[in-house]
Structure formats: C-alpha cells, structure tokens
Symmetry: C2
Subunit: 410 residues, 2 copies
C-alpha cells in the first residue's frame, strides 16, 4: 500500500561514517515486492551491547533470542527483516532465529550469540528464514560505512519516511559519535514505544554502563510516546559501542561523571528518534505534546499524560482541529490518578482555556484556533495538587489510521 509521506516527516540528517560500523540492505522478497527488506549491520569484535525490549507478555521469537544473547554483553552483527514479525510462530520461529544467527555468525566468524536478530511485520506467519539466509553472503559483500540511509529504509514497514539521528559527545578530551536509526508507525505504545531502534557509538563503554544509560534514555523518550496504545510484541532498542575511538577508559566507579555528556547526547538522540516515530504514527497529520504539571508525583503525572495521549476522543478532536478541552478533562479523570476537578487547568497552544473547574470567561480563542491548524499541538494540564510533572507525545487519530489498519493484512 502506498501511503502519502507524513506531513511530520523530517529529512534524513547527514550521517557521517561511524568507526567500525558497516551495513547493507537487500530485497529478499519476505513479503513486499520491489523493495529492500533485509538489513545487515556489522560491528568489530569486542563491541559491547545493551538492549531494551517490549514489555508485552507474548513477545516474538527474536525478542527471546536477543534477551538470551544480551547476557554475553558482546555483539558482532545484527540481521533485521521487515514484513514478517516472527511472532507466535512456535518452534518454527525459534528455529528461524537460531538458523539465521548461525549462518550470519559463520560469515562473521563469531559465536551465534553475538548475532542479534529483529523482525517486524505481520504476526503469526512462519518466517521464511531460508530467504534471509540465502542473501546473507551478498549482504556481507555489500557492507559499507556510508549505507545508513539504505539501512534506515530497509527496516521500514508501514513507515512513510526513514528515521535517523546523530549526536557527538565528549568523553574526557575525546569526541565520540552516536548514531541511531529507527522504524515504527503503528502498534506503538508505552513500555517500549518503537518497534525497532539501533544505536551505535564509536566510544568504548562496558556493557553494563551502556545498559544503565540505555534504560534511562528509553524511559525518557520512547516510553513517553504512544501512537495507538497497542504495545508491540517486537519492540527492540539495541545500543552498540564499537570502542574504535580513543578516550579515557571508563571505570565502573567513575562512569557516571565521565559519561555525563555521553548520556545527555544519547538521551537527545533517543528522544529525537522517538519523536520521529510519533510523527510517522499511522495516519498522523499532527504531533501532540502533552505537558502535565502539578500532579501529586511524577509517576502520577506520567499516567495522566499517557491517559490523555491514548484517548481516542482527544485524538480525533485534534484531527478535527478542535481544541476540545472537555475531552481532555474527561481523559484526566479516567486516568484514575488523584485529580480535583475544581483545581484543574487546561491550556492549548500556550493559552489557558479552563481554570479552577470551569472555562475562563472570555478567553481569547483566536490564537487557539490558529494553533490547532498547525502541525504541532501543545496541551498543558495543571492538576493543581502537587509538584509532579511529565510530558508525553502522541499523534492525532485520523481516517488514515483506519485505512491502514483495516486493510493491512488482506
């Protein structure tokens, strides 16, 4: 299905080579015709790896494979396919992962557990992994440092634009780079909100330090976004450090301080990618930012923000460019978190519309109407009870979502 590119699409940034990372993409005919659908990403021996995966209780076979492989803390290769998620495929699914990893490991000269696999697409159909295995030698031959765009495109499913981000950070006097690609469009919800995201750095960072930073970064980015409240069975974020750039060695004890700037850059990059995913939400015509303040705790604020972000009535109102703050009140109330109707304030586009349990008489609607016509909608909610705050991002709910998901499989 050819979908119009999201109005929230951003051009792919310039992505310089990252020392040690090479990639390639090819068309293996997994499901789509006439487009790339298998991607290989190779990193040098002794690269460290961290990973965060879906919280869905029925995860795909690749998630099980990656979780087990992650224990070794080392990565050498990632093989990703689009079009088939290899989820709910039983023993055949486990075999697909093992055989793909074994074949890739043989080419890379590493143990199979240093090969990470990821799959997205339709659920419940056996993955024809022999098609993937067949193209691995050609993928290896084609590995190149300047193939970021091909990789970002090759992992797409219903995405309408490729997603990537890059940052630099200081570790001591050295400058290191972090570059990531992501895909995701539907089945995007809290608790690991993109389907796939691969981030690389040329820094040399132990796996456990990577893992700590990645988990924190994902909590503040992907886990604050939602497209449709549906938590995927395939969500995967991997962060790999190739160690190709010389910088002060990271000791477990001083990691936090030395890595402060790296953490900042990583968090920025993850949020950038998460917002790109939100901006490519299925059918999205607008991105929505929801800032909650004055909640009884940060956790409570996040629950309220996500309740608003997941409300179909709020999202359809935004699609209709209607600053329907009544539906926002409803969504705050349904979150179940402490809220007092008569202390609640709601604003849109920087204009407070309702305060202390009632509409503000004579508030200026003109700037609100103009704001609602834009691509980025900002909602402010002050609960008026405490100091807890949180931000969530989502997109509007449009006919495009119904078009895509009412006919995705058939």
């Amino acid at each position: 299905m050819a979908m119009a590119v999201s109005p929230l699409a951003v051009p792919l940034p310039e992505l310089p080579p990252l020392a040690g990372v090479r990639m390639s993409a090819t068309a293996a005919g997994i499901r789509y015709k006439g487009r790339t659908d298998v991607v290989m990403m190779e990193v040098p021996p002794n690269s460290t790896v961290a990973g965060v995966f879906t919280s869905n209780q029925c995860p795909g076979a690749p998630i099980d494979w990656c979780r087990a492989s992650l224990k070794g803390g080392k990565a050498r290769m990632i093989v990703v396919n689009a079009g088939n998620a290899n989820v709910f495929t039983g023993k055949a699914g486990r075999d697909s992962c093992a055989e793909t990893a074994a074949a890739a490991a043989k080419l890379a000269g590493c143990p199979p557990k240093q090969v990470f696999v990821a799959s997205t697409g339709v659920i419940g159909e056996v993955l024809p992994h022999e098609k993937i295995v067949a193209v691995l030698p050609a993928l290896q031959d084609a590995l190149a440092e300047d193939n970021w765009e091909a990789a970002a495109r090759g992992i797409m499913t219903t995405d309408t634009f490729p997603k990537a981000s890059t940052r630099t950070a200081q570790i001591g006097d050295a400058t290191v780079r972090i570059t990531g690609i992501a895909k995701g469009s539907g089945m995007i919800a809290p608790d690991m909100a993109t389907m796939l995201c691969f981030v690389f750095t040329d820094a040399k960072i132990p796996a456990d330090a990577l893992q700590t930073m990645l988990k924190k970064g994902v909590d503040g980015s992907f886990n604050c976004t939602t497209v449709d409240s549906d938590t995927s069975t395939s969500d995967t974020v991997l962060l790999i450090a190739t160690g190709q750039t010389k910088h002060p060695r990271i000791h477990p004890d001083d990691g936090k301080k030395v890595l402060a700037d790296f953490s900042r850059a990583l968090n920025e990059l993850l949020l950038d990618l998460a917002l790109q995913v939100t901006g490519d939400g299925e059918g999205a015509q607008k991105r929505v930012r929801i800032d909650v303040t004055g909640a009884t705790s940060a956790k409570s604020a996040k629950k309220i923000a996500m309740a608003v972000a997941n409300s179909p009535l709020v999202k359809t109102a935004i699609a209709g460019e209607d600053a329907n703050w009544g539906r926002i009140v409803m969504a705050v109330g349904k979150s179940g978190e402490p809220a007092d109707r008569d202390k609640l304030s709601i604003g849109v586009g920087g204009v407070w519309m309702a305060k202390d349990g009632a509409v503000i008489p004579g508030y200026d609607e003109t700037p609100v109407v103009a704001h609602m016509k834009g691509l980025e909608v900002e909602i402010a909610i002050d609960i008026g009870l405490g100091r807890g705050k949180a931000t969530a991002w989502t997109c509007d709910l449009t006919h495009g979502y119904i078009d895509i998901n009412g006919s995705y499989r058939s």
Copy 2:
C-alpha cells in the same frame, strides 16, 4: 449531524405501561434544533431508588447532585437533558442542578433531593438551565404512561436508535415488571459503560436491596462493554421501584432468596441495554464478543478481555473483516496479565486458528472468513493457565468513529 442508523440497531420492544411511571419529552432548544432534548420521568411518592455512577475522577455536576440525593433512598422525579453534559462548569453547573431540581420539586410537591438530574452532550459549556426550567410545567402536563419511546428518544445524543428493554419477574406469586431505557454511543468504557440508563419496576423493594442488585447487575453488563476506552464524566444508571404491585414484603434477611428471579430479570435487562449501547457505538458496523477462558482468575480474565476489546488494532482489523488473530495475541500480551505465549489458543467464529503458541496448520479459513462478514463477531481466547473466565463486548473501529468525533463540537 445526521448519521445512518447502526446496522446493529434493534426495533424498540413493546413497552407496556409500568404502574406508577409516567413520562414526557419536549424540545427546549438546549443544543439541537428540531428534536426533543428534555425528558421528565415521574414516579409515585415513596418510590425507592438505587444508582451507579461514573468512576471518572472529574464527574459532571449532575453526578455530584445524584450521589448526594441518593443518600435519601427516595425518588419522585428525573429530569434529563441532551446536548449539554453540564461537566466542568464550576459553580454555574452546581447552580443549574439545584435550580432545575428545585423547580421540578415544586411541581411534584416533593423535596428537591427526590429529584434526580442527568445531562449528556458537550463538556465545558454552561448549561442554560433556564430553558429546562421553562419547559417543566408543560412536561408535567404531558406526563403519560405510554411515553416510553418519546423518553428513549429524548435522551439520545449521537445515538442512532432509541434503546429500551423490558422483563417480568416473579416475587413470590406476584409478577412484577422491570423496564429500562438507555442512551450511549461514544465515550463508552469500562467502569460504567453507558452514559445514561433509567430502569423502573413496579415492585416494592427497599433502596439498599435495590442498590446491591443494581451494582452487581451493572458489573456484569455495562462494565463489561467498551466502545472507545474513554470513561465518560456523566455515566448514570438509576433503578427506581414504585412499589405499585402487591407481592410478599421484602425483608432485609430473606431478600436474596425472594429476589432471585427479580435479580435474574434485572441482569438480563441490563445486559440487553448494554449490548444495545455497544451496538450503537459511534461508527459501529459490527458487535464483537470476546470470551476469555483459562486465565489465572476471573479478574485477570476480565482484564485480558477488556485489553482486547480496547485495542485499536484489533478493532480496525474487525472493521476490515480480517480475522487477524496476531493482533489478538498482541492485545493479550499487552494486558500485563499472566499469559504464556506457548499455551495460548485463539479462535474466531467457533474455529480455533492458533493453539500452543503457533497457527494451527491447515485450519479451515472458509467459515472464519464468512463469520467475519457478519454483524456479530465472536472471539475466543483460551489462556491455558487456570479456570478464570470473563466476557467483554465492544464494536469495531471504523471511519464513522473518526467522522463523528473529528467534528462533534464544531
């Protein structure tokens, strides 16, 4: 907005007069033009009343009014308006309730706390209660026993058909009748899943026994249904007993046994009304029943059933007549309840499609495809872990939902 009548609409059943209950409807121009929008329902002195209300933390002013009035256990009159929900309207909203009730009480010759008020429609606009007060005398003059249809139509907002149900029950040797009307179409979610429902009986039942039965009945009906996961700020179910039919007196001690048949009839009626509301879900083209078995507890089964019922991806697949059981697996997994992918079975229309963590090879898809084209879709989910079971009802998610909610207010 003129919407096509839901394909799941049912004809209004024949509704005989119920001793002591009279009603009327009129057009007061609250919001809609050229249709009735204020309904009065009158019951005799000493009628007992029970009520269940929304769990939304930001309820409308009428909910506060009814909750306070319910403490008296007596009802004499209900005044309902459509088009304006009187929610988030501050002091003006509270005054609207008090002044409407005072005016109605004066006409009925009862204390204001025996007048119950209910409002649905747009949130956040001050209710022009003077328009309601102005029509009360005419409404009183028009009260009649055979006005059920007028009342059922007068409380509608985005509903496409009026909803009513009637049953008889035995109390001792006496036959009593229970009749209810309901409205609801969007903002329908667990924890009080219709917006308004008014049920009457000619039996003589103490308020506390009514309340116990009503709460149980609502838990097994309205609270097992969802249209869009958005919990309204106005949901109200009232059950009023006029005591006009002679039957053995209900003693608090023997109530359970004497009222067994009444409870059965009440539960049937509430479920009938709840399914009518689901069948009129905004944009609904199909009703969906989800039966979960084999969960670790009944509570867990209900959470799983509601996670499936609230999944936009499951609901859009059903709109597309696609028995996409992979999305059902996803929704089971995202519920967070105990589930083991490799013990899970999924069936649609009586055909098991997936079992033990994988598709059943060569299952017969023909009857499944035929079932998906029907108006009623049945999903069976066996978790394979225990004996907990539950059923939930929802509707599909279609372009109609976006049409209605992207332009409701403007």
